[in-house]
Symmetry: C2
């Protein structure tokens, strides 16, 4: 995604996903105007998450954290600084991460003897401590997660999708057997998929990455991939089976029940603020953001419509207070907008901010004890009796959540192409993009050639790929065991 | 506090607060053994907060966060990197913080043109954004908090009390008038005091710091100070009235209702993992930690006592499950210890970990439908009917919370000395330490001399100091408006 100039004020650029620059202008402007985030120009690549955006992230954190705890994980906090020698212990790991590292070389007024990386990820730090804490099979599995900031130096910046510093969670686990570690890897991939689909209304494809796209130091990497409105894929969460690579590098061993000392098997898995960006792109429209109710900071905004007489004004304000109270009691995150702006202006502002449901309360509706409810996604309006607002709002929020998911899924289905001819593959990638399901022989050469010629990479080998049976590689015609999922990617 | 060698295994060193080294050995060993935290030796000054310790911190965060939100603040997340030029904009600020900064000089494979500080605190970053976001009086007050890691380079390390990287929250607010900013400063000092006393059972003295102890860049600094068992004071939270210093440095202005452009008034306030250390020191005993129920990760541990027959064993395990269920339903954080260790060993372990209440369930008590409850603080035992466990546990947890606070307050009262003679002052500071209430003329010279000769600093001018009326300075005999509170400090 390009980083175009964005003007303040005036109309929001249309969400025209067919044109790259226009789409990114929409994305960046909508985020800025809705006060979700802001760039920090003095340090390229960094950003601030403003209160409205952070509240969204807090709701996302809560949904994930609850799932982590329900699967037996505990939170902890590990050091920010990774000594250079730690990174170097796992050869592929340092090769993958060294180019992106920010180094502390001077601290407390002195040059450091060994420079320190700001963690780009924490496998090495966890490895160090796991080798101290794990002694016997009784200490396994060790299941720890941390919520933290990490730094990977970036030249280009796109809100949430690509920033030098970002917030994430990283789970790191150690197990007695390869099977248990593999099970954990898949369990957390499932947690991510469930969270993305249930809470963020973001349909995802799960599957395994090819060797070329693997995490630096992993034996296998699995990911969830979402399709964005511009036809590009967004990798939205990864889960790695690390084999015994880090166990060997950090000497993480345990005394097994049979009296033998063995290396543990480890996993790691992470999801970041990146998926927040993906969710914004997926659901917005020309009027701004549309936030899925499950994570929206404000699920329902209540707008008082001005009345001409004092008596009516006080009736409106009583009704607003009452509705807020009932919504809150029903577990709906609701807020009234009492500012002195005009109602039309408020409608626009809260639509821009993506609040999924609006309640308008004015003297005309109140004359018959009614209020008006307006859905953000469809703009459907309905009149509801004053005493039924909370129940109906609750219902409508559920419907918005479902239909955002269904809409995104239909979009993905309409933009997933099954292709068996390489010329057609190139055509689709050039003209429409989207996901392409195509047979691939498994060779790195074909993978690289397709990437070079079409800018499409293999996002994953989907979980259910084998069901379809073998075919011939789209690139070199050799036998191919399964169809891979191709797309251009963020 | 010294950092002595700590052996693993064997007895916990006694909590002998009269001898500095023995006390710190107790503190460090209790933290390590209870698996709250561990040092990260490869980077001096840093530590890991392990799951048990982090769960404690999460409970503390929840208590604070709720209070922040109830007073109108919102959370956000600001960048980790502070350009050097930002730190330099406020002269006193850079002077105060520069010696402790860790600098990033190289990133993404290149030397940076301007080096970047890892935030030691974020007044300058907030200042930068506030100047963009605040345009009119309608944007005020701006009340934002962030939970973050910060770095201040330290040579010595003491778990939680003194570490290079630590976790904290920092609130930064901007106001229309000096009065409003001053009110906010005092409001948040009050929030800290209430949190420390109500949630952590840690009695504190509130008051203002002297000019010598002020935050770098503040017009006034207020603090809460707690007295530790070794007679030293721990500064446990600070709230700063920043006047217009940062508003000027970052050009934070607003258009007031009268049409004039004016500088805002700002505050900042922070509380860190340091207070977690203070809480541990205050309440523990020779057997280990004692955690205040309000923040204890596990409030009640249930220990099954082995039975000889299968029938009795199954009765015990049924009763344990039932008690856990009832405790959980009553809102008590409860856990059963099903491990195959001996009961006596379990008692020791959970006492070390500071769990405030223990339930023992064995065949003998069950014969009469009873179980045994044991308080961690007093070790009082009582038999309680099986159906009354949850109610009684709830009650006892409240009593433990109260009596921890009362015990700490009595200790503080017994160790607060009102002294009017400088020789006596020196004697007390050498032999007993504790707080000394003594008249001070207000001169920096007297303050420095007392510090040099007794290692005691003025912790605060207590809030209620004026009630007692004026006297004569303990140091130079000049008129002194109030008694200051002196102590040696962590």
């Amino acid at each position: 995604m390009a980083t175009p100039q964005v003007e303040f004020g005036g109309q929001l650029p249309p969400k025209d996903a067919s044109a790259g620059e226009s789409f990114s202008r929409w994305y960046i402007t909508a985020i800025r105007r809705s006060e979700l985030a802001d760039y920090f120009e003095p340090v390229g690549g960094t950003m601030v998450i403003r209160p409205y955006g952070f509240s969204l992230w807090e709701n996302m954190q809560a949904g994930l954290d609850q799932r982590f705890k329900a699967t037996g994980h505990k939170n902890a906090y590990f050091p920010l600084f990774v000594p250079e020698s730690f990174l170097r212990r796992e050869a592929k790991h340092v090769e993958g991460f060294a180019p992106e590292v920010a180094w502390v070389t001077n601290a407390g007024g002195e040059e450091l003897q060994e420079r320190l990386a700001i963690r780009p990820t924490s496998e090495t730090i966890f490895g160090h401590f796991y080798s101290k804490w794990i002694q016997s099979w009784r200490d396994l599995p060790m299941l720890i997660n941390q919520w933290a900031n990490v730094v990977r130096w970036e030249k280009r910046t796109v809100f949430f999708l690509r920033t030098t510093e970002f917030l994430w969670q990283e789970g790191h686990t150690a197990h007695r057997t390869a099977e248990e570690a593999q099970e954990e890897t898949m369990r957390m991939l499932g947690v991510y998929a469930d969270f993305a689909e249930t809470d963020l209304a973001l349909p995802v494809v799960r599957g395994e990455k090819t060797a070329a796209e693997r995490f630096a130091g992993a034996d296998a990497t699995y990911a969830i991939e979402a399709l964005m409105p511009d036809g590009k894929a967004l990798q939205s969460g990864t889960s790695h089976f690390l084999g015994q690579n880090f166990a060997r590098a950090f000497d993480i061993t345990f005394l097994d029940q049979d009296g033998e000392r063995k290396l543990v098997w480890t996993t790691s898995w992470g999801m970041s603020t990146r998926i927040l960006g993906g969710m914004l792109m997926a659901h917005g429209d020309d009027s701004g953001l549309i936030l899925p109710p499950k994570v929206a900071p404000i699920q329902t905004v209540v707008i008082p419509i001005p009345a001409r007489s004092d008596e009516h004004t006080s009736r409106v304000s009583d009704a607003v207070s009452r509705v807020i109270k009932e919504l809150t009691a029903a577990g709906v995150r609701a807020e009234a907008d009492w500012s002195d702006k005009r109602p039309g202006w408020k409608f626009n502002e809260w639509e821009l901010k993506g609040v999924p449901l609006r309640v308008e309360i004015g003297p005309r509706d109140l004359a018959t004890d009614h209020v008006t409810l307006v859905r953000r996604d469809t703009r459907d309006k309905e009149q509801v009796g004053l005493t039924a607002v909370a129940e109906r709002a609750h219902q409508l929020l559920g419907e918005v959540q479902t239909s955002l998911f269904e809409r995104a899924r239909s979009f993905r289905e309409a933009n997933t192409h099954t292709v068996d001819d390489y010329e057609r593959f190139k055509e689709v990638m050039q003209e429409q993009r989207g996901f392409i399901r195509a047979y691939w022989c498994g060779s790195a050469e074909c993978e690289a050639r397709i990437k070079e010629e079409t800018r499409a990479t293999i996002r994953v080998i989907p979980e259910d790929a084998e069901a379809e049976g073998p075919g011939v590689c789209i690139c070199d015609g050799r036998p191919a065991p399964v169809r891979a999922l191709f797309a251009q990617a963020y």
